[in-house]
């Protein structure tokens, strides 16, 4: 029977990692959206320039630094309805490149859909993936970089 279930809520409760993004971009799951004109090229080999950590299920997870995100006009002290800060977001890549972007409200909210992890059966570790989907989060804003990188002075 060709029917796939799409659960409206995530099965996992969100992890409580402090979210450094401005309040507006924070979601219960912590997930946010960043759109970039172009791609980020990540070197294929991770052994030198990134660090790895063993996850409980044995697969290693690498995090490769790309740069820094900056909301220059944002301050948590700003009134909540102040949206002027949304006009400017910087992404620094390397020392001399900066992409300027903005925070935009999505014309239509986007649901982030993922396979629902099934509870791991006894004996085998790790999250098996089921054929059911779930809406992990509904995102209403995105960080949008539509410009080309520009050269900047050394910080």
């Amino acid at each position: 029977m060709p029917s796939i279930t799409l659960h409206p809520r995530a099965s996992r409760s969100p992890s409580r990692v402090p979210n450094p993004l401005p309040q507006l971009l924070q979601t219960p799951s912590g997930l946010a959206l960043l759109e970039l004109q172009g791609t980020i090229n990540i070197p294929a080999s991770h052994d030198e320039s990134s660090h790895s950590a063993e996850t409980p299920d044995g697969a290693s997870v690498f995090e490769t630094p790309i740069g820094k995100l900056l909301f220059p006009d944002y301050s948590p002290q700003n009134p909540a309805d102040d949206s002027a800060w949304m006009k400017r977001v910087y992404l620094y890549v390397g020392r001399y490149q900066r992409i300027t972007g903005e925070v935009k409200k999505l014309p239509k909210p986007l649901a982030l859909v993922q396979r629902r992890p099934t509870p791991a059966p006894a004996g085998s570790a790790g999250g098996h993936e089921s054929d059911e989907l779930e809406v992990v989060e509904v995102v209403r804003y995105k960080i949008y970089f539509k410009n080309r990188p520009e050269p900047v002075n050394d910080l």
């Binding site: 990692v17 912590g30 740069g67 509904v138």
Partner: protein, 435 residues
């Protein structure tokens, strides 16, 4: 440097990346998901076409996925983007990894392997013989070092989004229903034979399960499935789902009306469905003895026909419960009888019947008191055609769809396409012309 006082967040890339899909939500679906108790949604694809048209169409043109809320159906369309959409989440890899991370940052900032070494040696603790280059690296290091606990990492990249559309003219459960259920055309014996050749023969299968199995193969929402089921007078009998032909519907309906007259059941008021069934059966026993073999029909069919014209509460499901007390919805009943009769008697223009003849037959198929209700205006506009001044015929769903699709002229369609930035819209017309 003033900008540096603002919050600066380390941005990293996590590997392996996760699989995500981005689904653009129309406002009503977004509201649904945001509600207190959001319903489960379903992605439905039509059942693979196995029979009939297989020779003419090698590739199944019906390959698509629909997203179904309990009441609505949307066609899913994948829209590619040249931009990359990254899904970020806060990273909690702080603490012991910090040292490593500083090295990494130096790589990013310095873009030179030499800098890594230098920075690493600096990390060792001596601030001895460093050249200027390294000094700079250290500066950066210190600069963001404050924010090191604050990291956003990209865990997925999406090159496309999924958009939801309500297809033109909506989606008709009826279209699919026809292909999934048996056509109940003749009397019991003929259908029984068909059921036997069908092979399933699962008399023990619960009726609900049979219906659910059919619904699972109809790629529209539950509510639309149910509506299609009721409107098509579909029923489950001998472990199989059936839909009667208009002729059979009319036959059953006529017997219902006649039986009601004989037993003195007033169809205008509330009546017991059981009584009505008895009246139909009783009439058979007494008057149509010789026709009983092919004239008999299953009670499920009788109930399906009654359910079709019963007054229902708006939005309430009529399925799954046995009808007990019922009252007919006068307008719906008059219209249904007229349309079904026309479909049975004059299914196409070449078989058109005389108008007055049709109107009289229509009246004869209604309870006495409703004869005056009969008028052409009671029919849905699109279902009938007047091929010449005296006749009338039925317009099938298929023809209706076709004439609807022809309505927008090519000119208006292309201007609409030009306005749209959507590639599908832009090239849709060209594709059509080539075909």
């Amino acid at each position: 440097m003033s900008t540096q006082s603002a919050q600066s967040i380390l941005f990293t890339h996590t590997a392996p990346q996760q699989g995500f899909r981005l689904l653009e939500l129309p406002p009503e679906v977004a509201d649904l998901l945001a509600s207190e108790n959001p319903p489960t949604l379903y992605l439905k694809t039509p059942a693979p076409v196995t029979t009939t048209t297989a020779t003419s169409k090698t590739s199944d043109p019906r390959e698509y996925v629909n997203l179904c809320t309990p009441t609505q159906t949307y066609r899913i369309r994948q829209v590619q983007s040249s931009n990359s959409l990254h899904i970020l989440r806060p990273s909690d890899r702080g603490g012991g990894d910090t040292v490593l991370r500083r090295e990494d940052l130096a790589v990013v900032d310095g873009r030179a392997a030499a800098a890594v070494v230098a920075a690493a040696s600096q990390e060792g603790g001596q601030g001895g013989d460093m050249d200027v280059d390294v000094e700079v690296d250290v500066d950066v290091d210190v600069d963001v070092g404050v924010d090191l606990a604050e990291t956003m990492t990209t865990i997925a990249k999406c090159g496309s989004t999924l958009e939801l559309h309500v297809p033109e003219g909506g989606l008709q459960a009826a279209e699919f229903l026809g292909g999934l259920v048996g056509r109940f055309a003749g009397g019991v014996s003929a259908a029984a034979a068909a059921a036997a050749t069908g092979g399933t023969g699962g008399a023990g299968v619960a009726e609900g399960k049979v219906m659910e199995a059919v619904f699972a193969d109809i790629p529209v929402s539950r509510a639309e499935c149910e509506r299609g089921w009721v409107e098509g007078c579909a029923f489950v009998w001998r472990g199989r789902a059936w839909a009667p032909t208009p002729e059979v519907m009319m036959e059953v309906w006529k017997r219902v009306v006649d039986g009601a007259v004989v037993q003195g059941i007033d169809l205008r008021a509330q009546f017991l469905v059981d009584d009505l069934w008895k009246s139909v059966v009783a009439e058979e026993d007494e008057e149509e003895e010789e026709e009983e073999e092919e004239g008999q029909f299953p009670r499920a069919l009788f109930e399906a026909v009654v359910r079709r014209v019963v007054e229902g509460e708006e939005g309430k499901s009529l399925l799954g419960e046995t009808l007990k007390w019922a009252s007919l919805d006068k307008d719906a009943c008059v219209r249904w009888v007229g349309e079904t009769y026309l479909e049975a008697m004059a299914p196409m223009a070449s078989a058109a019947v005389g108008r007055s003849e049709f109107l009289n037959a229509w009246k004869d198929h209604l309870p006495e008191a409703w004869r005056e209700e009969v008028a052409l205006a009671k029919l849905t506009d699109a279902v009938y055609q007047l091929p010449d001044p005296t006749t009338i015929c039925f317009v099938t769903e298929f023809e209706r769809q076709r004439s609807k699709k022809n309505l927008p002229t090519d000119a208006s369609a292309s201007t609409a396409a030009k306005k749209s930035r959507n590639w599908h819209e832009l090239f849709k017309n060209q594709k059509r012309q080539k075909r």
